[in-house]
Amino acid sequence: MDIRADVLIVGGGLNGPALALALAQAGFTVALVDRLAHETRLDPGFDGRAYALALASRRLFEALGLWPVLAPESQPILDIHVTDGRPGEGAAPWFLHFDHAEIEEGPMGHMLEDRHLRRVLLATMQAEPGIAQIAPAEVVVQEVGPAGVTLTLGDGRRLEGRVLVGADGRGSGTAARAGIARTGWDYGQTGLVCAVEHELPHGGCAHQFFMPAGPLAILPLKGNRSSIVWTERSALAAEVSAMSDADYLATLRPRFGDFLGAIRLAGARSSYPLSLSIAHSFVAPRLALLGDAAHGVHPIAGQGLNLGLRDVAALAEVLLEARRRGEDIGAADVLARYQRWRRWDAVSLALGMDAVNRLFSNDNPLLRAVRDLGLGAVNALPGVRRRFIREAAGLSGDVPRLMQGRGP
């Protein structure tokens, strides 16, 4: 055996490294296998991608000691405006307004650019002696035995651990090799992502416009910049992607509106097709799935990373608790606790986001009236609104210790 560790993680995106850090800091040995080389992961080219970190996710980064480095790169979200609109028509009379002053925990979230988060996670992981990083490497064989799991890499190296974690995204090879089937569908929509610089300050306000073709999110970044996630029907999105920067901006402007003054592109543009993909089980013998490998959700409200980090915190807590009792950390009953904890939350959120998208990505006048009334009703009831804010901040339900501002 070339490498032995308590926990083997496949996937070097964001959730895999976050879990590796949480486990290593708790005294586990970890080996992380990443398909991509570090240099590729660290490519400084800004693709405009940014995350709306829920308060709970920020607390996880605080617990992992990353927040002091991330905070200067983060923009607090002080307000969220949700509006129903059609290009050129402006906002519907009814809209939702969430203000962070309504909950006592402070800003409901922070906007953080992917490039900063990625760099900090990788650098912290490299400095952590309990983590062996293996990249670039491909897993070719995955075998589960009575007391452990063995991975064979493309170059013939072999790894052995007590438990294997699949953090390898919605096309998870780890899940496929374990025979875990998936359910999902394509939305026929594509997310166009970019960052813009604007004339006027955003004041920390995030906007979500529900357009007939799909939602448009304008999320505040540091300075006079915002991250745009613009969802269009895939055919139109392909045309927009092929446009020159000038034509792209000309198409975006009427959707964006002029409330932030003149806009121009800041950094590269990117796009990705939207689909929903849920694993039929989050666990198998000696295996746990997390993040998109378990549940790839529609990116409405930026819940994908937040959900993944919640999996990270829950799995770290379950494994640590098991070790403190002397249990086998890969035992079926231990992993079942993780699945019990996370599956309902993740699947209900995934389906909820799907329903919201189906309701809003529609130009039917009746549906539009219904959703406008619904938004207005939520807005009129402070109790309901506070529940939405707490939900978005990740403060509802059974919150893992790492997300409560406590040690694991």
Partner: protein, 251 residues
């Protein structure tokens, strides 16, 4: 994974039988499901009591290193293995030879060195074996002479050593839960597993301990939470399942 001596002396036909039994013992949703469900709660109690008594830091990788521990009625090794993982030097004893073969086989698969013996507490005591910790979980309600059993446990402890026992209280609720519920209705346990008249109240347990020269130091109820489908410790509710700890007097 290291082969353990001992297992290799068993006849191959027997090994197949024990492999099947081991799979059964260690299947969390099989025949021993009630024990698996209760195990995290029992382990939490045991680990906390040992750490408190011997001043061990539970965040260390092997906090119980250097402690010699006896698990009486070890069965398939559901407590012995976790204790060995936490660093204790474990002897597992069971009166049923089949259990010992099963436990040996599983420990070997898990890569754990545990000294399993087909013997009784009284014989170990007579042979002069001494331990820092003696565990007797779900045992006392099955022994014929509880005071003699408790005296053997005392003899097995070094002065200052820790005894942890768990059993079922003798109350109307324990009859409803442990006999009617667990055996007759839910079929968690085979009918006749328990004889209600042999159940021991917490005060009787404390009396047995004191009578044997052990000072009771703690007791907690173990309560099943049907919503979370898990057991948890309770400081107040000792009406059905409970666990108790005592220390052997220094003199």
């Amino acid at each position: 994974m290291s082969m353990q001596s001992g297992a290799s002396t068993i006849d191959p036909g027997e090994v197949a039988k024990f492999e099947a039994m081991a799979a059964e013992w260690w299947d969390p949703v099989g025949k021993f499901r009630p024990l698996h469900m209760m195990n995290p709660c029992r382990l939490d109690y045991i680990a906390a009591q040992i750490a408190a008594e011997f001043g061990r830091d539970r965040s260390a990788p092997t906090p119980f290193a250097g402690l010699r521990l006896l698990d009486i009625g070890c069965g398939g090794g559901l407590l012995s293995e976790p204790m060995a993982r936490l660093g204790a030097d474990v002897v597992g004893a069971d009166a049923a030879g089949g259990n010992i073969a099963v436990a040996r086989l599983h420990a070997e698969q898990s890569g754990l060195a545990i000294d399993y013996r087909h013997t009784a507490a009284e014989s170990l005591a007579a042979a002069g074996e001494r331990f820092d910790v003696v565990l007797a979980l779900e045992v006392i309600e099955h022994v014929a002479d509880p005071p003699a059993f408790m005296a053997a446990c005392r003899d097995l402890l070094r002065p200052g050593g820790l005894m942890i026992a768990s059993t079922i209280n003798r109350t109307a609720r324990s009859f409803a839960m442990a006999i009617v519920g667990a055996e007759w209705v839910l079929r968690w346990l085979p009918k006749g597993t328990h004889d209600w008249r042999r159940f021991v109240t917490p005060d009787e347990m404390a009396g047995l301990m004191r009578g044997a020269g052990l000072d009771p130091v703690d007791r907690k109820g173990m309560v099943f939470d049907p919503l979370r489908a898990e057991w948890r410790l309770s400081a107040r509710d000792l009406a059905v399942n409970y666990t108790a700890a005592a220390v052997r007097r220094a003199t």
